[in-house]
Symmetry: C2
Subunit: 411 residues, 2 copies
Amino acid sequence: VISSSEAVGQRSETVRRSNLGAIATELHLRGPLSRSELVARTGLTRSAIRGLIGEFVAADLASETRSVPHGIPGRPSPIVQPNTERAVVLAMEIAVDSLAAALVGFGGEVLARERVDRPREHLSVDQILDDLGELAAPLLARVASPDALVAVSVGVVGLVRRADGVVRLAPNLAWHDVPLATHLAERLGVSADVRVANEADLGALAEHRRGVAIGVDDFIYVSGEVGVGGGIIVGGLPLVGAEGYAGEIGHMPVNADGKPCRCGSLGCWETEIGERALLTRAGRDAGGGRPAVNAVLAAAADGSERDREALDEVGRWLGIGLAGLVNIFDPRLVVLGGLFGRMHAFVAGTVAEVLDRRALRAPRDLVEVVPAALHGDASLLGAAELGFEPLLKDPAAWFAQRQQAEVAVLA
Amino acid sequence: VISSSEAVGQRSETVRRSNLGAIATELHLRGPLSRSELVARTGLTRSAIRGLIGEFVAADLASETRSVPHGIPGRPSPIVQPNTERAVVLAMEIAVDSLAAALVGFGGEVLARERVDRPREHLSVDQILDDLGELAAPLLARVASPDALVAVSVGVVGLVRRADGVVRLAPNLAWHDVPLATHLAERLGVSADVRVANEADLGALAEHRRGVAIGVDDFIYVSGEVGVGGGIIVGGLPLVGAEGYAGEIGHMPVNADGKPCRCGSLGCWETEIGERALLTRAGRDAGGGRPAVNAVLAAAADGSERDREALDEVGRWLGIGLAGLVNIFDPRLVVLGGLFGRMHAFVAGTVAEVLDRRALRAPRDLVEVVPAALHGDASLLGAAELGFEPLLKDPAAWFAQRQQAEVAVLA
């Protein structure tokens, strides 16, 4: 309901905010654009665009430069450029094998990025917070002013309650009910919002905004290392569920009386396609981690029968689970990330055959299976995108906040 | 983007349409309401409500009557009542065992309803169209005027392409690529829109609007007879997928190298929990249909060990599949319809235990499993709700259409 008791001025304000959001989104996702391109993309008039751009310039969030005409007749259209460093997100990731942090600017430019290996041991919450703090310190030092920090946004291999950033369960970390958002805000000493989300959900978001699934409104991102996770986009929006736990496709039962799963159940998809399943099938140390997986892929490329068969069998089970997901979601695209992105070339044929045999024809005919585009940094980039969401949704609120901060500094 | 080149008048028009839609939705879902209740529910002012109600009255879609004060001091608030017969949907259903038709009025009242058994044979498209035509004729004769028919809306046990109402596959009917919407419009000789959807999707819609899941934004409706279908509501909206095929949870592989499924795959959930699985487990004729299922339920109620064990085993597999769906969707509610609604009392304990053991704790703790409220008519009522959608979304378009029709009659 839009209240009709609102004054016309208030309605104009709603329109203005919505239009500012559209322009912020264009600048963030596409980078520098000419005024003419903004007119074409938003459907707004040239004069409306001029006014709105003026607000971004006044807030120091964009600049205009005269474009160099490329021999095209007519007056050149000024180029609107996002001021990358004036609004930044500190994105972080707690992955299975590594910790990472990046400073991402408005417009999507990665200003700095650090990734450090971490042992696959169960480090304490304090230890991880220490390590994250160390990674973050030089990045935070680069932030132009405290008010330029839009958010801190963290992806983690676990189940996250979105509302308060509590990690309910992270088997790879042996974490239960860790209030990560609160801890991190304290540790980093920032007043900006701290948002926490599951790393596969963030991988899906990143592939949707900046990867292989741009413009695709219905797709499934399947990511795996030790565990198997998923991020699902439905009608253009992330599937989060009642409290944020949705997307745990690794714990779909595909072989219900099969192998015990780390989650306590039996025959979850993860037990057939995860890293340990691949390594066991290849006759290698199930706990060999990423180096062992790389060895399987290298040996298979060199023609090793046993490693090829192991990949085939994982491919078969990958196809079986995907057939179920295709029947449930009717997606346009399945994006394979992490472990599955790396093995895509080896399993694509098997996966396609299994889908042909096992998925219902109507949804099967619509879906394509492709490797992820963003590789190891998908979740980190997705965390940045999650952090920018409030700014893109309502830049006017951000302008107002910045003004208050400036007034406070001057006073 | 809302174009700021729109005149203020056009913006007011957008607001007006949105507010008319809010009132239409309230009247349709709740029936007669006092003006005061409409003020409370929509947040609009009393004077705005008065004007908007005036439009419904002018279009003959609502009436106002003076309320009888129940000894409450103050001026009684007039009661706004939907004019049930002035906007109706012809809802139909092609189920496994029956065909049904209902005339549902604005406000949700079922004005007439017919259901006839049909044999579980593969009747030709023509035969079914004849039967539907016969069911529909007396209902259409009741419609006050042709322009009162909002839509014809049909639920069918099969995969439906939403855009054009083509039934891509209906195994129980042996249909492939049947353009049902087009055929029905011809057969019934109506000019109103004909909408076609999967019957489990419509069951979910009905439970969301008028059943056990009112106000629940994330839930899964599981329905079964011969086949097992699903309708899923995500963030308040139906999950339809890229072309409308989503929700085929009966073809989620839970026992991947298990029994052959009618769909051509192996070990689909349907092969473990569908009607045939129950009857086989109970040592009865797998093709015995609904009477045989009723015999199992009656015998189990009377203490028959074998029938109880069969229900237990179906309950176990029901729980296994639900654990996967709970992990994937993080729903608040699982609604059991059809066969599963009828067996709920016998399997609820087993399902709960299996969920405890097999679903991830965080989403498991949020979800409740309940029987459907609307029983055998869920899909039929859901079809009516689907038919009313355009009217609820934009009553102003409906008002305009009616006026044109009247002008045409007068000319």
